[in-house]
């Protein structure tokens, strides 16, 4: 387990912290945040490349805060991987063992086999493809026997297909060797695919931490909802117990909870949670129905992103399977009924 307690780090004019974080043994913990939010600074402080102003870093209960980088025993993959260009693949992988004067054992061979790099060990690293470089860097970070791995956006430069392949590989390595992983990324898909726990950082402060599904289903703040790319956020007003008026959609919605805050509120719903209801399938108990005009639709391969305009002028984004385009005869100008399931609606406090 990696624990960060009250950590404060200064990097030029940027101040990170104070940060409290717990990476449980065997989990992949994702640090998510926009560029410049301080997530890499936090990772560099944990690895020992930055000296904190305050706070502690604990690894399995041992205080690492003042321990030099070379004695921390943490595997590290920077964004650019930093494979040593003057060494071969084999020499790169064995660098950590050689420095520690430890022999190359069966573990390294097994690692190379799992990572499928055994057949190009004698090549120069400068001749490797992007995916090969990632796998060699992973092998190098794990070869000394480290079981804690710190990854700083290592997959960000790869195309989607290769990234998926490496995500699967990282998951396999994690399960096989019981790795504890702290991964920095600004990619939501990566965070939700890999993360057992996701911690979101904004402007040097930890905004929220928890299982990715929970954070996504009900973002704890307006800023986080926007960071998740959610467009369906509408100003609202509580009109009664479980009732919210949304002028931009021209309707009053039933919601399953009434928030504690009463000031300015925002109503949110994910685009994949909005239902398009055809008249012949309309149920009498269908809730939160509203009429909207289709203003735009854009194919995204397997799905289609449709934008509707509500009665009050608000734009509501809906994601539907591509098949729906022909089944529902989707075309701009068409008026359709939409249903917003109450249990899928979340309310956010109006402040950023």
């Amino acid at each position: 387990m990696i624990r960060v307690e009250g950590l404060r780090v200064r990097a030029g004019n940027f101040l990170l912290g104070e940060i409290d974080l717990e990476v449980k043994s065997g989990e992949i913990h994702v640090l998510l945040g926009p560029t410049g939010s301080g997530k890499s600074t936090l990772l560099e402080a944990v690895i020992g490349l930055r000296t904190p102003e305050a706070g502690r870093i604990l690894l399995e209960g041992h205080d690492l805060t003042r321990v030099p980088v070379e004695k921390r025993g943490l595997g590290y993959l920077p964004q650019d991987l930093a494979l040593f260009p003057h060494l071969s693949v084999r020499e790169n992988i064995l660098y950590g063992l050689k420095i520690r004067k430890r022999p190359c054992d069966g573990f390294v061979s097994e690692l190379c086999r799992i990572l499928d790099i055994s057949h190009f060990l004698e090549r120069r690293v400068t001749s490797l493809s992007g995916g090969e470089r990632q796998r060699v860097a992973l092998a190098r970070a794990l070869a000394p026997g480290f079981r804690h791995l710190l990854l700083d956006e290592p997959f960000s430069a790869l195309h989607q297909g290769l990234r998926r392949e490496l995500w699967d590989l990282l998951s396999e390595l994690r399960h096989r060797y019981g790795l504890t992983v702290l991964l920095v990324t600004h990619d939501l898909k990566e965070a939700f695919f890999l993360g057992d726990t996701v911690s979101v950082i904004f402007e040097g402060r930890l905004e929220a931490s928890g299982p990715p599904e929970r954070l996504y289903r009900k973002p704890p703040s307006l800023r986080m909802a926007r960071f998740f790319g959610l467009r369906n956020l509408f100003p609202g007003r509580i009109t009664g117990e479980g009732r919210v008026e949304v002028p931009s959609l021209g309707t009053v919605l039933r919601v399953t909870s009434t928030p504690s805050f009463r000031s300015k509120i925002y109503v949110g719903i994910h685009p994949e949670d909005v239902l398009v209801v055809r008249d012949k399938y309309l149920r009498p108990d269908q809730e939160n129905l509203l009429s909207a005009r289709l203003v735009n639709l854009r194919s995204e391969g397997p799905q289609v992103r449709v934008v509707f305009k509500g009665e009050g002028g608000g734009l509501l984004e809906v994601i539907l399977p591509d098949l729906a385009r022909s089944k529902l005869d989707l075309s701009p100008g068409r008026r359709l009924r939409l249903s917003l399931p109450p249990e899928r609606i979340f309310l956010l406090e109006g402040k950023e």
């Binding site: 690895i47 020992g48 490349l49 030099p68 980088v69 070379e70 921390r72 943490l74 595997g75 590290y76 920077p78 650019d80 930093a82 040593f84 260009p85 003057h86 660098y95 950590g96 420095i99 520690r100 190098r140 970070a141 000394p144």
Partner: protein, 256 residues
């Protein structure tokens, strides 16, 4: 005239100017005189002294310059800008003035104290090395820093996470990656030291068979209006310089 022609013409004019200067040396070239001058004990002494002092001065510049360049390249520290500026002093102050500064240093109490304990540099071979070191160290640091700046510190950081101490990370990663730049810096520093005149003559004087380096020998021949002898010695210096530059360029192309 388009830009390509204009710029190429400028390059051609400069090149032709240098070629004309070198060719004019051959106007006075006579094979017998060349061999006689080259093989004379005085010239051979100057040649040996120049090679020895330039080698010692450039090695000293590298020995101190490499750690200094590393500090300037990798670390922020109070007074970094001042250090950076002072290191450029030999590039902007005339060598004669630098030589004068060394002389004056040994005539004030600290210098006199050092001289009293056997550290005598004035009118001595040690003075030649010191003068050449003073004029080349700044250049060495500048060249070495440029080399180190090109190597991302990330390599050393990763090496450290793998268990290397800062020194080990430097020796096993940064040093091998910068070897070509370091060799180039060493060779160029050596060439500059070899051709150094102003500071050397100010500190060490121009004593034949004692402190007479090759550039000083050229000056001495010129001062006695021995033009053919001057041309021979200049040809030797130019040949050494061109060989060194050719070597540096080959080094760059070889990808060593």
């Amino acid at each position: 005239m388009n830009l390509r022609r204009l710029t190429l013409s400028a390059a051609l004019v400069i090149t032709l100017f240098y070629i004309a200067l070198i060719l004019s040396l051959f106007y006075f070239f006579k094979r017998d005189l060349f061999l006689e001058t080259l093989l004379s004990p005085r010239t051979l002494f100057s040649l040996r002294l120049s090679l020895l002092c330039a080698t010692l001065a450039s090695l000293l510049s590298l020995w101190l310059g490499l750690p200094a360049a590393y500090a300037l390249s990798r670390f922020d520290f109070p007074g970094k800008r001042l250090v950076d500026t002072l290191l450029e002093l030999p590039l902007v102050v005339s060598p004669a003035a630098l030589g004068a500064m060394i002389l004056i240093f040994f005539y004030q109490p600290v210098g006199a104290w050092l001289a009293a304990r056997g550290l005598t540099f004035v009118f001595a071979v040690k003075g030649i090395v010191l003068a050449q070191f003073v004029t080349t160290a700044g250049l060495a640091v500048r060249l070495l820093k440029a080399t180190l700046d090109e190597i991302p510190p990330r390599y050393e950081e990763v090496a450290r996470t793998l268990g290397a101490t800062p020194l080990k990370a430097f020796l096993t990663v940064t040093l091998p990656l910068s070897r070509r730049g370091i060799l180039s810096a060493l060779v160029l520093t050596w060439a500059k030291a070899l051709g150094e005149f102003g500071a050397t003559i100010t500190v060490a004087g121009a004593m034949p068979l004692r402190t007479e380096t090759l550039p000083i020998a050229i000056f001495m021949r010129l001062s006695t209006a021995d033009i053919p002898g001057t041309a021979v010695l200049t040809l030797i210096l130019v040949a050494i310089g061109l060989c060194v530059l050719y070597g540096v360029h080959r080094l760059g192309e070889s990808g060593l």
